[in-house]
């Protein structure tokens, strides 16, 4: 099946050649079979396409009887028109192929009729084909038909009307065929041009059938399910997969995830977890499955219930607008602004790491405020963040649910399971990602030390610690102070001008002992 849509355009612009018409014919020839196959279709859409499909039999016929099956590319050198389509073309073709034979026929015929044995046909540039009769037979020449043209020493040359007619056909036949074939071809093309709209309509139906078949094929080979699509406010996906990544990975290697969003208590999913762990993939997957359902395709899941969404917004990672001179953060905020201004309660919003482009506290505050605002709009939202503070929104901000990426720790190593589970997390595993990425061990282990140090500090500061933790912490502190007081007392007793260096060293070693 060729591109009959673009072929019909070529016909409209008068740029179609004979080969294009043959392509059209070959494509159109498949339409009756296609129509036949569709006749048993159950779905309304397919059966209405079946009814509308025009098999263009007349176009097929027209090309089939007029154009040879393997025409040349150019339409200005003849060889296009089939035998039997046009009398003039046939006759001219016949003459060019058999001209010599017809001349000999005339020679033989005249010999027989006149009884002149030596009569023969000849050609010169002055008056073309002639019949030459030697002197001794001149008296036998029929005066009514033979016209004398030239007298020679040993004979006479004549022409007849029949001979001249044949000559006219032979001379220039090639040129006339080329022109005639071109004219006939143009007429056929014009005739088809009048039917361009019908061809376009059939092309249109063929494309729809093609896409629907493609959907069905993909659904089968990729093991998709038929989603339930309605006007509810729910997006519920069971064992969903990312259509693209699933296909790039080996079969079965992709981790499936469930999703549930509604306009009420589950409208804002806050997803925490380390980078690289699959948050972005998961969120895109939900958006893609929703979109696939709405273009009428089956979806990569075992079950899916999609309430139609009016808009999908995404704010994901660094945008390619970067190259256009605006700062990342400005671009990010412009996109956020556009989302907040345009999203409705029927929209699906994907927000990935809002506020990353600025300082931690700025970013976190913005992320927090955006989450609050979007919850008011009631748009179904997936909100990935590395600000673990945002997990506190669950319970306080209406419709918020926490999710996190499951992680398995094996000794020092961490494996990201790419499974999205309910509940928040407060581990970020950034250092582990660095390790996975091949950052030298010296750097990652130093980073780990710094991280531990920072964590300890933040524990001291954190006012949200449990009571027992705080008491323990305070207990350690008072112990420390007690020791310091003791040491101070000891030092106070020492008289520096009375002791030897050895004594000093002994005192120092005692203090050290106490500090342990």
């Amino acid at each position: 099946m060729y591109d009959i849509e673009r072929l019909s355009s070529k016909i409209s612009y008068g740029s179609a050649n004979a080969r294009d018409l043959i392509s059209l014919k070959n494509s159109v020839s498949q339409l009756p079979d296609l129509k036949n196959t569709l006749s048993s279709a159950q779905s309304e859409l397919l059966s209405s396409l079946y009814k509308e499909l025009d098999t263009l039999d007349d176009i097929f016929q027209l090309i089939n009887i007029s154009i040879v099956d393997d025409p040349p590319i150019t339409i200005k050198e003849g060889g296009i028109i089939k035998k039997g389509y046009d009398d003039d073309v046939d006759r001219l073709l016949d003459v060019t192929e058999n001209g010599k034979k017809y001349l000999l026929d005339i020679e033989a015929k005249e010999k027989e009729q006149t009884g002149i044995r030596t009569l023969r046909i000849g050609y010169n540039k002055v008056f073309g084909y002639y019949l030459e009769v030697s002197k001794s037979f001149v008296n036998m020449v029929p005066q009514d038909r033979f016209i004398r043209k030239q007298t020679l020493a040993n004979g006479e040359r004549y022409i007849t009307e029949e001979l001249k007619n044949l000559e006219n056909e032979i001379v220039g036949a090639q040129e006339r065929i080329v022109n005639l074939e071109y004219d006939i071809f143009s007429n056929i093309r014009n005739e088809i041009e009048k039917n361009v709209k019908r061809i376009q309509t059939s092309a249109n139906i063929i494309s729809k059938i093609d896409v629907l078949c493609s959907f069905a094929n993909v659904a089968k080979s990729q093991n998709y399910c038929m989603p339930v699509v309605d006007n509810s406010n729910i997006i519920e996906i069971k064992e969903g997969r990312h259509p693209v990544i699933e296909k790039i990975l080996d079969t079965g290697a992709f981790v499936q995830n469930d999703s549930y969003l509604d306009g009420e208590s589950n409208r804002l999913n806050i997803i925490t977890g380390p980078n690289m762990a699959g948050k972005s993939t998961y969120m895109r997957q939900v958006a893609l499955i929703t979109l696939m359902a709405q273009i009428g395709s089956f979806v990569p899941a075992t079950e899916a219930h999609i309430g139609v969404v009016d808009k999908i917004f995404t704010r994901v990672g660094a945008s390619d607008d970067l190259s256009m001179g605006e700062s990342t953060f400005m671009v990010e905020m412009m996109e956020v602004a556009s989302i907040l201004n345009n999203a409705t309660s029927k929209s699906l919003v994907i927000l990935d790491e809002i506020g990353r482009g600025t300082s931690t506290y700025d970013g976190m505050s913005i992320a927090w405020a955006v989450a609050e605002y979007i919850s008011k709009i009631k748009a179904k939202t997936l909100f990935a963040t590395h600000y673990h503070e945002l997990i506190k929104l669950e319970g306080t901000l209406e419709g918020t649910k926490n999710y996190h990426v499951a992680v398995k720790e094996r000794g020092e190593d961490v494996i990201f399971l790419r499974k999205i589970l309910e509940g928040g997390t407060d581990e970020s595993y950034g250092v582990h990602v660095a390790k996975l990425a091949g950052v030298p061990k010296e750097v990652t282990s130093r980073a780990n030390d710094i991280l531990r140090g920072l964590e300890r500090k933040s524990i001291i500061k954190d006012t949200n610690m449990t009571k027992s933790e705080r008491q323990e912490e305070q207990g350690q502190l008072s112990m420390f102070n007690y020791k310091l007081a003791e040491i101070a007392h000891e030092l106070d007793k020492v008289k520096l001008d009375e002791i030897t260096p050895i004594d000093a060293l002994n005192i120092l070693s005692k203090i050290k002992e106490k500090m342990k």
Binding site: S9, S12, S43, Q200, D210, L212, V244, V308, V309
Partner: protein
Amino acid sequence: MAENELQHNTVDEENVDMDKFSPMMRHYLETKEKYKDCILFYRLGDFYEMFFDDAINVSRELELTLTGKNCGQEERAPMCGVPFHAADIYINRLIEKGYKVAICEQLEDPKTAKGIVKRDVIRVVTPGTVLDDSVLEEKKNNYIMSIYKEGIYFGLAVCDISTGDFYATEIKEDNNFQKLLDEVSRYNPSEILINKMLSDSEEELKTLKQKFSSFISVKPNNIFSQNVQYIKDNMEITDVNNSEYKELDKKFLAISAINSLIYYIEDTQKEKPENLNKIVMYESTKYMSLDISARRNLELTEKMRDKSKKGTLLWVLDKTSTSMGGRLLRRWISDPLVNVADINSRLRSSKRT
């Protein structure tokens, strides 16, 4: 990439005595005057020749040798040329670089012509009106769009002349410009015509140029006619469900955009194309709204990094066996539906029975 609007100073007419030019060169200059924004391919025997700034630009872009031709003036005119039988290749390369090419042909046989051979432009090739198979992608539409701005509203017409698809709509809601950008990204046209009012809104024009790589040109107001009769006489007007559309008379924004687009196409093709016989009027609310960043981020039809198809949703879903089907699939992915009945009617077609 060529400048969107080329600067032409072909001949400084005030300081040059036009009478001194050879007759052929005078005709060339007259023709060039009518096609200022195009590269003029001027047929001389077995070659298409270019002169003056065209010659300088083209010789640079296509790495052709720049020579000169006596034109009656003291200095020779810069000239470069390509053989006529290979012209398509050069024309296509110029189109891909974002130029427009006007082809000026010999209209009589030089053997029988008396005096100077009659020549005229027979076709203008632009990124949005190219018909050559070697430039067009099989499974991708090549759209040309016209945007008519009036106050804060927009009329929009878009067409693929290689397939005959023709759509039009109006944008009269909130966030009009944002909606316009969404619509442009839906089609991703290779060429955009705009009216004066849009080109005067500097911020909007700047955004359009930044977000899209389309060839944008400003067209005079008179081609954005509000006369509906020509459209009605030549085209069938339908809605998306292929039923007759009766509201066109009231949609003067759309009418202006449609008229300009038809005028431009007929002017470049030098004929009235028979395959443009139907206009589909649609409301953008019939489709899911996806802004540019969502389309790009979700990698629906091209990868963010290298614009390739592999690794996109289209790549996964494309098991179509015809180019037409391939193009329609791309359109369906770009235009998800919101009407439950329409969606389910598609879904039921894939159901095993």
